[in-house]
Symmetry: D2
Amino acid sequence: MQLQIGSSRITKKTSRLPHEIILVHCPDEVGLIHRITGVLASQQLNIESNQEFVDVTTSHFFFRAEVSLSTSCSTQSPAQLKNALAHVLPEQASIRIVSCEPRPVVICATQEPHCLGELLLLNAVGELPGRIVAVISNYNSLRKLVERFDVPFHLVSHEQITREEHEQRVAELIDTYMPETIVLARYMRVLTNNFVDRYSGQLINIHHSFLPAFVGAAPYRQAFERGVKVIGATAHYVTAELDAGPIIAQDVIPVDHSFTSRQMAQAGRDVEKIVLAKAVRLVLEDRIFVHSGRTVVFS
Amino acid sequence: MQLQIGSSRITKKTSRLPHEIILVHCPDEVGLIHRITGVLASQQLNIESNQEFVDVTTSHFFFRAEVSLSTSCSTQSPAQLKNALAHVLPEQASIRIVSCEPRPVVICATQEPHCLGELLLLNAVGELPGRIVAVISNYNSLRKLVERFDVPFHLVSHEQITREEHEQRVAELIDTYMPETIVLARYMRVLTNNFVDRYSGQLINIHHSFLPAFVGAAPYRQAFERGVKVIGATAHYVTAELDAGPIIAQDVIPVDHSFTSRQMAQAGRDVEKIVLAKAVRLVLEDRIFVHSGRTVVFS
Amino acid sequence: MQLQIGSSRITKKTSRLPHEIILVHCPDEVGLIHRITGVLASQQLNIESNQEFVDVTTSHFFFRAEVSLSTSCSTQSPAQLKNALAHVLPEQASIRIVSCEPRPVVICATQEPHCLGELLLLNAVGELPGRIVAVISNYNSLRKLVERFDVPFHLVSHEQITREEHEQRVAELIDTYMPETIVLARYMRVLTNNFVDRYSGQLINIHHSFLPAFVGAAPYRQAFERGVKVIGATAHYVTAELDAGPIIAQDVIPVDHSFTSRQMAQAGRDVEKIVLAKAVRLVLEDRIFVHSGRTVVFS
Amino acid sequence: MQLQIGSSRITKKTSRLPHEIILVHCPDEVGLIHRITGVLASQQLNIESNQEFVDVTTSHFFFRAEVSLSTSCSTQSPAQLKNALAHVLPEQASIRIVSCEPRPVVICATQEPHCLGELLLLNAVGELPGRIVAVISNYNSLRKLVERFDVPFHLVSHEQITREEHEQRVAELIDTYMPETIVLARYMRVLTNNFVDRYSGQLINIHHSFLPAFVGAAPYRQAFERGVKVIGATAHYVTAELDAGPIIAQDVIPVDHSFTSRQMAQAGRDVEKIVLAKAVRLVLEDRIFVHSGRTVVFS
């Protein structure tokens, strides 16, 4: 399914990613890094890189390491490593050991091709650290674009069924692919709390953002009328409160009075696809913690 | 490329600026540029640069030209030029002829030095196309900073008087300087409609801007809690509706999870001073039209 | 705000673009705009937007207008309009009348998919104001990517033939498509002066750019060793002097010490594709003049 | 000498800075963080924040922590802490313990006020994490600007003496202030290797940077003629090889064809002062390591 640019590309991707990623967060206390690195050293794990952060406001500790196994040894499994870490860490510690297999991603979209296309393209040329396994849409208009990339396209129409029924069908489809991450690439459906809860921590959304914010319909019309000078985009995890989930990435691009509202919308699409691609890469490389409604991003 | 702080600077500034700036806006119709440039050509005015824009949404025409007089001739005054232009333009046309003298600016501030200091510094080193003639504050804490630059500092305390009395005293002080532009450089006073009307089109304000916008107190605390990834600033004309006046300039700077709310506030100050300085320069070079609540900026 | 990939898109594009674009440049003299707009007014042409610039250093005048015909009249052809303009302009004036048909573009590439893919994607979703009619490569590795988009892919191997023979074959292929614009999307061939001359003003190239510039092989290795903090890209017209043609667009993205040279190369690819797409859009919308080795970009 | 914005400002600065900064770098080996944090834990030092980085290319380890002492205990001195760390680290390890006193800075300038003024202003309003103790110039033209801020200004004319004699006088003056950091804020003197060696690792310089780079005189004239679309600035440590020292910070700002070479120079000054201020703040907060000609910046 993936474009091969000669075999060297495969090698590049593999060698670029480490063998295991270790993610730990817990209430801060003295000596945490000392204890974690003690476990790693005792198992002859080579720390390729690590990042650590203490949020002094909430007194919470975050740790991410990319480690490689010494060749000769280490018959230990990730589960055993996790146990060993749990043994030295506070009870409330969250510990994740992630292998570097590219993980499956499902994309939900509606009718706009810009964000979806960008992700499909990155996937096709080997620049997405994951694997898009399916696209689900409530319209048929994106089918051709998706099929260009040999990715399965599923139409789940929302017509003549309830919101709950529609979500149920979408969820059943999603589940057949067992993705860890579901990207809402301009998926123009209001989600029920039920759906959001079902995929808690797995849903990533993108929306345009303005200074100041505009409520109500036709935001680009409002942005035009207000004469804004930048247009932004925000990628975030989805939570029950609409558009208020933890922010993963944001950026803006400049516009000026000569932009019509249609050209502002074009600028908005340009920045949306860049910000969403950045966020999806960060998520797929396991560089993000969510805690107390905020992200810690080890980029 | 060298800068002299002294009289030579004046020469440079003068030579950089054209002799006259012509600003016209009116409902669009066929042949407007033809008619304007006809008047200029007939008076042997040399167009050093010009910019023209038609807002197709409102069907409104904007024109700005920097012109120089041919040496030999042109005993015509700006008033005569304006008359000649009015003669060929629609009745509703707004016509301004501005000479390139650096114009007086008054700054109102409260206690924060970052925006005020930036403007005073640009003024001192000859990089502001205007002249700061006074600073007015409702506290005394910025006095020393202002006096470093040999600019008059006026304390107008708001204590033990009504808002209206305070504004009246400030206005009387402002009026002694006859400024065309009044910059609110973090002036933390709510203005009455009366004051805003009195200086309609003359008041420039700066405020921090967030994606998403935060209402209520302690915005940096909220920005921190929401984990924003950019912090912005907006410079705008002041109108009766708070913070909703026509936008002159906007920009953002990146922040991340490692910023405390105090460091976010520092980042906010950094971007505020850059955006305000940009806006003030644009205003003082007469590069801005305001129409239908939006600016047209010929930068 | 919704995008239809299908025939409705054409309508949108057409309605967004004006009916004719008029481009004039010539040595500056008094009254040029007056004369041009006089011709337009006399033909009942509606100026949708126009931009004008005088390069005071070279005393050269540039003018671009988007005009629409009044419905009732105007049996005049573009050729007649051009004649009418030539009649009132200096002899040396360059005058172009361009209709708004999306024009054919040929892309030359070698083995890297990022720039090529971005252009193919924009083309597929209707966000490129032109039409990619063919891709030519000296390797076969990009074939699959191109064919995903139903665009003809031509392999012209450079093996076992001279540079001149290879270029001759490429040129013959290009000419069958009669493109106005040829985009070198990471086309890693040194071009002969002969080839550059043959397509003078039609070739657009993209290359990475560093502060400071690095000469010699492995620039990303050098950028890494020097610890640069930004990586840039430059899109430019191709002239005989390598990489010294008129610049169309430039931008940079931030990097830091944690980037390996491979990750710097990834960052470089990200900015290259953004800058090239921007440049190609500007070219296809006829927003660029080239004069005295510089571009004037009416964006 | 410093502007006091009420006593709260002092508090803010003090509370913002940690009590001690620990900087370690050495060849990487297993268990380094474990050993360092073990020493810190055993001394009841609270890690407020820390950052760690392994440069896998050179296999070199970098560590920075901000630590606070528990109130009740710790009669240990920085020297004792350093010894304890040295005891557990490789012999080649570089260990620095820095207290958070704002450190003295000397600025060398020539005639341009923009970078100097920005630093003086930040210093005056309490936004520079250091203390400017003197300005030295080979011209007298900046005296007034410096004296506005009650900072000693020293004229050391280069006329009628050799380069070596001039540098000797400058060095003697610098040494009376015992600064750790010397900022060359557009100091237009070619430095001898002797001078550079004397202040190895202490000299910070700013210069404009272009894409592409321009050699020879009048770079802004060249940038104009080449029609560049961005203008940048680079702040770096000074080494024997001119402008090739380790890069601390870089940024660019957009320009276009409408900028004269004088306006490009203005844009260059704007970005220079922003980049230099950023670099000086990073240096004064001890966020920078230099190794193998590159910086590691823990921002």
